[in-house]
Amino acid sequence: MPLTIALWSAAALLGVGGLAVALNGRIEATRIVYGLCFCLCLILFMTAVVPRGAVALTMVLPLGLPWVEAHFQLDVLSAFFLAIVNLGGAASSFYAIGYGAHEKHPSRVLPFFPAFIAGMNLVVLADDAFGFLVAWEFMSLSSWTLVLAHHEDAENRRAAFIYLIMASFGTLALLMAYGLLAGPGGDYSFAAIRAAGHEPWKLGLVLALALLGAGSKAGLAPLHIWLPLAHPAAPSHVSALMSGVMTKVAVYGFVRIVFDLLGTPAFWWGIAPMTLGAATAALGILFATIQSDLKKLFAYSTIENIGVVFIALGLALAFKANGMALPAALAFTAALFHAFNHSLFKSVLFFGAGAVQTATGERDIERLGGLIHVMPRTAFVLLGASVAISALPPFNGFVSEWLIFQAILLSPSLPQWSLKLIVPAVGATLALSAALTAGCFVRAYGVAFLGRPRSKEAAAARESDPWSLSAMATLLTLCLVTGVLPSFMIDTISPSARLFVGGRMPAQEEIPWLTIVPIAESRSSYNGLLVCLFIAMSAILAARLIHVFASGSTRRGPPWDCGCPDPSPITQYTGSSFAQPVRRALGNIVFVARERLDMPAPGDTRAARLGIEIRDRVVEGLYAPISRATDFCADQLNKAHFLTIQGYLGLVFGALVMLLLMVAIWQ
């Protein structure tokens, strides 16, 4: 029953897309469409969270490949990701009821937004390879049109181009993976694929293809280059969906294939996701630290979080392969938990970026500043989101990363040497990127919201509308709730952990004081609620006591600044100067950061300038050669377009003679 409702709602979403076309140009279209999307997403969310036991619901419709038909299913994993998708979908629809009013040409957004959500839902619900890929690519296609919403900007067009190329590359990879799994018989239903046995080399190949396919959609390095281009190009509520939700759908695809369809893993399967994830995390956060475009920065931080998720998934694979059910469950739970958390706070962050952009027309933090005075509510919500994404207690980001650390601490008992050597390095990288995240968001928030406005747009900004604010606030509250009461989330994920890694963490609801205990009380435990309460209580207590017994009086004065305050806001620390230490200390790991100082000679009156050039090693080392090779081949072959008739006849003649020779020799 819930599955039926879910499918109907997905179809209804597509219908809403059609309705949006019909309503084209009407002023109230925005509210109607987004309102409908909100309701439908809520319904879908309900179908996901309504308790149905561990049994998977399935359904077959006479669509798609005739002899396979369209299979749909709603098992625990699908339900979990269905919840993620529609939570994000509902939030961004609600946000867009207010935000969408500022859209210049809504006719380029409204029809495709519901289609995009529907596509993601169908990916999660699909139960056969063909349906999965159709939904998968449809999701890419609809989001592609959304990336092109502001097509007059050449940058966006380029972003859209790269995006769809990478997307269909991923789809082709997945297609081959499914082709390999289904075999020449061509029974593409997941049930049949599970039933069929496969040779090991086949499984390894499929794993690699799945990494390519799902990884390119999730933004796994080195397939990530499209992400920081495409996500910022779309309208902000769409960016939130792409960054917060679509990447999770990609994670779902990976989990579905590798943990479900492939059966029992070999120990080395875990290595690739782990190492790639670690590389992705470090690379993503280092790039995020040097960005000055707010949305680009968030996009790069998405890449980092995807890396974290894949680290945990790789650990889960390694544990599962060695039959260590409990640690596998821990890592798996951590991965899914982190995916959920990221979908929450990344949506908030992109909403905030959208609010800032509508308020100031700026995305460049170097031209912002002091927003905390003019848009205090937005500033407050974004502060919370920044704390959450920086993995600081008592918010949810900390809990999931804490769980991953606990999983890493269990990995010495893995028998294989390769894993023994890799896991600690991965752990160090994870710790490094976690620390860098905090710094990155201090920079982003501090430069954009604190200090003094660096442009008159920033000074003239206004607080954003109540719709957007309430959407952001709700998600942030969820972040806090899952942070202080993580045990519920863990117990929600446990069934899928049991299903896919054959074990589960200790049931958390039995533990007193709402503490979470990954393995055993004596090993490690964390109680978000108590920590949160203690911090709040002692802060309030201290403030109260001081105001009562010591002085509470305050006087406003000019800034001190070592006695020489400069009124002009240009003297503030800029984003790039803030990032300079990290750029110098760690920069050259993944990118070539060069500072060019142009210092005039003494007596010369022109101003000195400091230029920074950032070069991306991945792009230069991997993608530039590919495009060069394509151009070369195109140029060479293109000569064949300008032959004379004799030339063409010569081709035919040559082909004929060659074939005749072959026949003569063959006989």
Binding site: F138, F161, I165, L180, A182, T630, A634, G654
Partner: protein, 482 residues
Amino acid sequence: MMLGSLDVVSLLLAIPGAAALALAALPGYRLTSRINVAASGLTFLCATWLLFERPAPGLYLFVDDLNVVFVVLSTFIGFTTSAFSASYIEHEIGTGKLTPAYVRFYHAIYQALMLAMNLALLANNIGLMWVAVEVATLTTVVMVGIYRTPEALEAAWKYFILGSVGIALALFGTILVYMSAEPVLGEGYDAMVWTSLMQQAAAFSPRLLNVAFVFLMLGYGTKVGLAPMHAWLPDAHAEGPTPISAVLSGLLLNVALYAVLRFKMLLAANAAAISPGPLMVALGLASLIFAGFMLYRRDDIKRLFAYSSIEHMGIITFAFGMGGPLANFAGLLHMTMHSLTKSAIFFAVGHIAQVKGTQKIAGITGLSESHPVIGWGLVAGVMAIAGLPPLGIFMSEFLVVSSTFARQPLLAVPLVLGLLVAFGALLMRAIEMAFGEPTGRAEKIEASVVPLFAHLSLVLLAGLYLPPHLVTWFQNVARLLG
């Protein structure tokens, strides 16, 4: 000729023939274009009738599962194209690119072309089929040259020379087939009739068949537009009237492909002969990759899509070359989808070129801004031809790639690379044409966009749902093709 028993079939030939004569005689383009549409519609109805009543094979004409697919498809596209060409020709006369006399000629030739193609598809006699294909070639040559601009003449001349060389090679192959059959079936007609050939194929001299297939593959392959015999195709598409480009891509290539398939079946029926698969696969891959790279340097919209036709013909040939029920099914489906989509694209291109007054891509950017309907139509068409879901070509490409990867993983790699290369070029052009700042003239398009969206909606439907009858029918054909 003994057509007594084949009334529907003879109608399929008689209607276009009569229409051709009538149109040659009648003046006034409005009336003639209406007659043109009506005749094509009638032909289509007769073709659909074949689905229900299947006449017994005769000495000259016959109907089986395989050619019914082609007949129905080509008559349908002939019908929609005639509807499109009505509005297109009107505009051409308005701008004085065509004189009424030429239009009369044009309509007559159009029906003659339909006649030739139906004959080629229905012929039960390899000689007759050859004649029909040759006639089809000659008529299209005339069509391509109809504008009489230097470019058009050059294109038509090249088409004529290459086409007739191909035809000549095909004839030689046909003769060889006869020679190989003659010792078994005896002199005379029997040795040229499909039905009897197929029954006795196992007994023919395999070596002769091999040589014959080389000639037939190259000869009819020229008409299919496979590299390296493709040279006539881009210019012929680009310089002729757009309806003819649609007919070329949507129909004529299929007809030639049909001939190739027939002879492939003949060889497949003879165990001792070399299997035709590898040759087809090689030519298919070559065309796919070659055309994929050629797409990057095209600055003329019609040549762009002409090369994409080469690419897709390559995919289809590849699929049939792979063989097996799955790949054959995929090939048939892909051929159908490609014909529908590509003709739809050419409808859109025709309108665009007429509005903008140029075929240069640089002159037609920002369509979705200036002409939303046609612009998004073009985008949908390109996305369909590039094989994105939920449109039909995705399904066939899914089957081609996955079945290939399941059977010959190494062959799938170049296939996928070729698809990706072509996709990149098409996507780049689509973004360039449909988005960005509009250039060129921006007046309304008065022509009807019904044929365009009729095709697109069919393609969309097929991508989501294939009626079971169609599926079983295609599966039979796929089994027939071995």
